[in-house]
Symmetry: C2
Subunit: 271 residues, 2 copies
Amino acid sequence: MSEFERATAVTPRGDGTYDAVITEGWDIAGNANGGYLIAMAARAMADVVGRPPLSVTGHYLSPGKVGPVTIDVEVVRAGRRMAVVRATMRSLDHGEVLSLLGTFSEQPEPDTVGPSVIDAEPPDLPPFGECVPSGPPVAVAATSGFGQQIHARYHPDDVGFGEGEPSGTALVRGWFEFADHSPVDAFGLLLVVDAFAPVSFNRPEFPVSWAPTLELTAHVRGVPAPGPLRTQFRSRFIQNGMFEEDGEVWDSRGVLVAQSRQLALVPRGPA
Amino acid sequence: MSEFERATAVTPRGDGTYDAVITEGWDIAGNANGGYLIAMAARAMADVVGRPPLSVTGHYLSPGKVGPVTIDVEVVRAGRRMAVVRATMRSLDHGEVLSLLGTFSEQPEPDTVGPSVIDAEPPDLPPFGECVPSGPPVAVAATSGFGQQIHARYHPDDVGFGEGEPSGTALVRGWFEFADHSPVDAFGLLLVVDAFAPVSFNRPEFPVSWAPTLELTAHVRGVPAPGPLRTQFRSRFIQNGMFEEDGEVWDSRGVLVAQSRQLALVPRGPA
């Protein structure tokens, strides 16, 4: 069992409620990574319908603090191929954490799906070893476990914010793998889409501090081939105190395996 | 009261359940437009928390047929500014139609939100009068009420699919207004993001027929100024029998007022 599997494991009570634990070491400055929380909840949702996530939306209710949680899962409709499921994650000590709605389905067999039309390319990254191991500012990284669990290797052009030199473009690109090199499946992809620093960090108008996500939607678009994943995150509309962040995850074959969009509040606090 | 308001009106029973009617004339070949359904459900959700939609996700369970529906609304959490709400729309005659989850909030006051950074431009469209009034193939349009309720005026370059000459790019651009010229508010935007033909119509690999939406997420990013709206819809990843369709809606000031993404199945049926 991988570290990620262990840290997102869920135990059914048998009535649609699951027990789980927000595990020490998956946090950024004390709050669990948002993708980690969605991945954990999606395990419970998937377990009920026997299918992996295809499209999952999470709305954040409060930061995820270390400790026991319950995940209440409700099947809205289970068809032959697709199942629509909703869930709520609650911390026993801190109240409601996350509300989710998703469609769960196996990826279709390649010979059943017809032609592909791809009008995009994977992000152009230097080799893994030439990308930069740390994203968050040193002060934040030092109090965060999340950076120990994953290898997020940033494009050298996108990481100046750590030294007070934002690139000027709301763009972050990099390689991803789990620190224990375990493979990334559909649940892992739900974490990958939220595993890098907010793209607002690369605009000088905003402090390098927490950008609270209101909502994150991830689409699983394929089953990743082995090897590190290439990611790209970008925002084109920072306005009205909010920004969207669009993510893409590509596998070692150059196949898009996940797409995401989140709506977040621009950071207001001190750097 | 506008035609759209009349056709999406909801009546509270007082216990979180609302009555509404999928109204004749908002369909495409017998199935209600998907954005129309989300807008109707969002009215009930907004009514419960006294705030308009900010981010709404709908997962489609079955096509919306004309007739009475109920919308069951549940407040997950109502904070000072944001409220998270979920809902289910059920047809009295045809069962569950739509499952929704959203965050509802007023758009913030402009002087409270800090700087904007926009890295995009509105779609380049010929004037309204030079765009093309009809999207769907003639056979479909003739049996569809939806086209009577709205003025969707397609970019002449993006509408060849109606004559069997798809443009070759999974892109659709055009102007939108309600046929009765009523203003578009946050609820109207939920319809606008699903008011044009699927972008798969412009790729020769796929038949010009129904592309069932699995999930649609819309972000309301501003309050539209008066006047027709400019829209753009595009897909970059048609693969595994599915495609994402990313939408943008811009107002007459050139301000982005909504963003959307849906995950849909590629059309399989006959044209």
